[in-house]
């Protein structure tokens, strides 16, 4: 049975509440313009999935403490910073329903604000001497940037193998969730093995999360209309890549052409379906889910562990 997010959050309810307040304080500054902007950012906060991973991972090994809170702030600030920077460069006009920063304040300010949040996260870690946490998260930022560049480099060619694909999503998408789990663990455990283990757990669940998202885009278990989603987005997905590497050369050329011209999405989707690529991606996703759960099995039982198991299942079975 899939538990609701509310049930999953129960063991860390109080901590998440106090985190929300802390996070708001973290973003505060004495520059009125900046305060106006961060107000917008806090307003449009999403589900806070990453702080959940931080707090639950921490609780697996001990009691949530100041370091856990600093870790959560750090992860969330960097996550927000990258979102803001994404807005700038992609020229996207909407994110989570509210106007994106650049629509209101223009690119200029958004680069600065993204940098501010990035530096602010680093500052919180430095001022509290959380060097280990900072190293974990700085490594994640490096990986995310590398993943982004790899993706740009590869997507120009519309031709990548599965190995490259996994490298890209491991770096671009999974590394921050991995860092969230590692940071939480490092706040309550000194055992390097625990930290590594939870880093691997986060990575697996991050990859599964990405695969779930891709399957949504092809209309699997989803109210989303697969025809409504940009073909170019689909071109970097596992189902697309799997298909591309299985069809005839002529069909491959046709698929790439359709993507380039942004036309005939239905033909592309039909090819993906006919080649069993969606079943394949689902199989891989479930494999990652199982691997994530197997890691949790090596850790003593607790309420936090139960919640993390539920969170893993939630990620796979969610409907949006």
């Amino acid at each position: 049975m899939v538990q609701s997010l509310k049930t999953i959050k129960r063991p860390i309810e109080i901590e998440l509440k106090s985190f929300e307040k802390r996070f708001r304080d973290d973003m505060r500054s004495n520059v009125p313009l900046l305060d106006k902007i961060t107000y917008y950012i806090v307003q449009r906060k999403g589900k806070q999935v990453r702080p959940m991973f931080v707090f639950l991972s921490a609780q697996l090994f001990g009691k949530i403490n100041d370091a856990t809170h600093h870790g959560a702030s750090l992860v969330e600030l960097l996550h927000t910073a990258t979102l803001v920077h994404d807005d700038v460069v992609d020229d996207s006009y909407e994110r989570r329903g509210l106007f994106s920063l650049n629509a209101i304040w223009k690119n200029k300010i958004a680069v600065i604000v993204g940098d501010y949040l990035l530096q602010k996260g680093f500052l919180i870690a430095l001022q509290n001497k959380r060097f280990q946490l900072l190293e974990i998260v700085a490594e994640a930022v490096k990986q995310m940037s590398e993943g982004e560049l790899l993706k740009i480099e590869r997507s120009r060619q519309y031709d990548i193998d599965e190995k490259k694909y996994f490298e890209i999503i491991r770096k671009k998408t999974a590394s921050l969730i991995a860092a969230a789990c590692a940071v939480g663990t490092a706040s309550t455990s000194e055992d390097e093995k625990d930290i590594e283990k939870m880093n691997a757990f986060g990575e697996k669940i991050g990859i599964a999360f990405q695969l779930r998202d891709e399957l949504f885009d092809f209309g699997i278990n989803s109210p989303r209309n697969p025809l409504g989603i940009d073909l170019k987005e689909k071109a970097m997905s596992l189902p697309f890549i799997y298909t591309l590497n299985r069809v005839s050369l002529a069909e491959k050329r046709k698929m790439i052409n359709h993507v380039r011209q942004g036309k005939k999405a239905n033909e592309v989707i039909a090819l993906v379906q006919a080649n069993g690529a969606l079943e394949y991606a689902q199989k891989i996703m479930i494999q990652y889910q199982k691997e994530a759960l197997a890691i949790l099995k090596t850790i003593p039982d607790s309420k936090a562990k139960e919640s993390l198991e539920d969170l893993v299942n939630f990620v796979i079975q969610r409907k949006k």
């Binding site: 920077h85 940098d115 500052l123 590398e146 560049l149």
Partner: protein, 326 residues
């Protein structure tokens, strides 16, 4: 007036160290991602004046021998500074940097912002992996100031109602704090004496402010060489000569000039009007005098150290910074 030595002469006592630094710097950014490697190589070729690594190395030599900690400091500061420039070019929509195409001009904004983020993360990792925690503490303060200075500037520039004390606050935060931290962290790699570290930091701040005023003066072409004139006006950046001139003008004159900066900053003949106005008001002489005061303060701090080749080079560097032609 002191004789200005060339940058190469000033670099002489640290020539070997600068070479080692350059190698470390490039090695620190090696990547398997070919696009990244390509852009990094491009950026290395455009290496600037290396002013900050010079301040780090020379400050270190004030109190001892350049060591691993000094190199980590120099690498960290140059990487962070370059990342800032890459982002600045996106912010300012600038197509040129150091006479060649900027990263955003060649590879677009998205890539430029991402590269900057990556360099910032990498600079931190160098300190963290080598456990240079004191270095990080010195710079964490500077980084906070840089960002707040940038925001303060964005806000004030929109209104153009800037006063001299705000101007000095902005440039102290934006420009001087990184040079101050470079000097402080440099000397901290060879001494544990807090008093000395503080003193060298203050030296860096003074020279950082002088550096910025020199930059401001270029916009009005006192030397008829170097940068094209009026760039700051076009970008609505408030400079000391302009601020002085505005604060000493009649109300109607002030209104007229502010109106040009706000609404007609894309018209060369209008920008020239502003330049003429600043020249006529004595704004250049005023800014020059302020710069020399900061320079005198910087010299005074240096003179509390015993004479040495490093001290002499720092003195020359101070002179160079305030008399440079570009």
């Amino acid at each position: 007036m002191t004789m200005t030595k060339s940058l190469n002469t000033i670099k002489h006592p640290i020539a070997d160290e600068l070479k080692i630094f350059e190698k470390r710097f490039e090695a620190a950014l090696e990547s398997e991602v070919s696009l990244l490697q390509k852009i990094n190589t491009y950026i290395f070729q455009q290496k600037g004046k290396q002013m900050r690594p010079m301040f780090v190395l020379l400050s270190a030599q004030l109190c001892g021998e350049v060591n691993e900690g000094t190199y980590h400091t120099a690498t960290f500061v140059e990487m962070l500074h370059t990342a800032t420039l890459i982002h600045d070019d996106v912010v300012d929509d600038a197509n040129e940097r150091r006479g060649v195409a900027s990263v955003n001009a060649l590879w677009k904004n998205k890539i430029a912002v991402t590269i900057g983020d990556l360099w910032i993360a990498q600079s931190l990792l160098i300190c963290l992996k080598n456990k240079r925690f004191q270095l990080l503490e010195i710079f964490s303060h500077a980084v906070k100031e840089i960002i707040e200075g940038e925001l303060l500037q964005s806000e004030k520039t929109r209104k153009l109602n800037i006063k001299e004390d705000i101007y000095f606050e902005i440039i102290r935060q934006k420009t001087a704090s990184l040079i101050a931290a470079s000097c402080a962290a440099g000397v901290a790699s060879t001494t544990g004496d807090e008093t000395i570290i503080e003193k060298v930091k203050l030296f860096g701040e003074k020279i950082g402010i002088a550096f910025q005023i020199r930059d401001d003066l270029f916009d009005f072409g006192t030397d008829d060489v170097g940068k094209p004139l009026g760039i700051d006006i076009k970008e609505k950046k408030m400079t000391l000569p302009l601020i002085y001139a505005l604060n000493n003008a009649s109300r109607s004159e002030r209104k007229r000039i502010i109106n040009i900066v706000k609404r007609h900053n894309d018209k060369p003949e209008k920008v020239n009007e502003v330049i003429e106005f600043v020249r006529a008001s004595g704004g250049l002489e005023y800014a020059e005098k302020a710069m020399l005061e900061y320079r005198a303060d910087a010299f005074e701090i240096l003179h509390t150290f015993p004479s040495s080749p490093a001290r002499e080079s720092l003195e020359d560097l101070v002179t160079f910074v305030t008399e440079r032609k570009k």
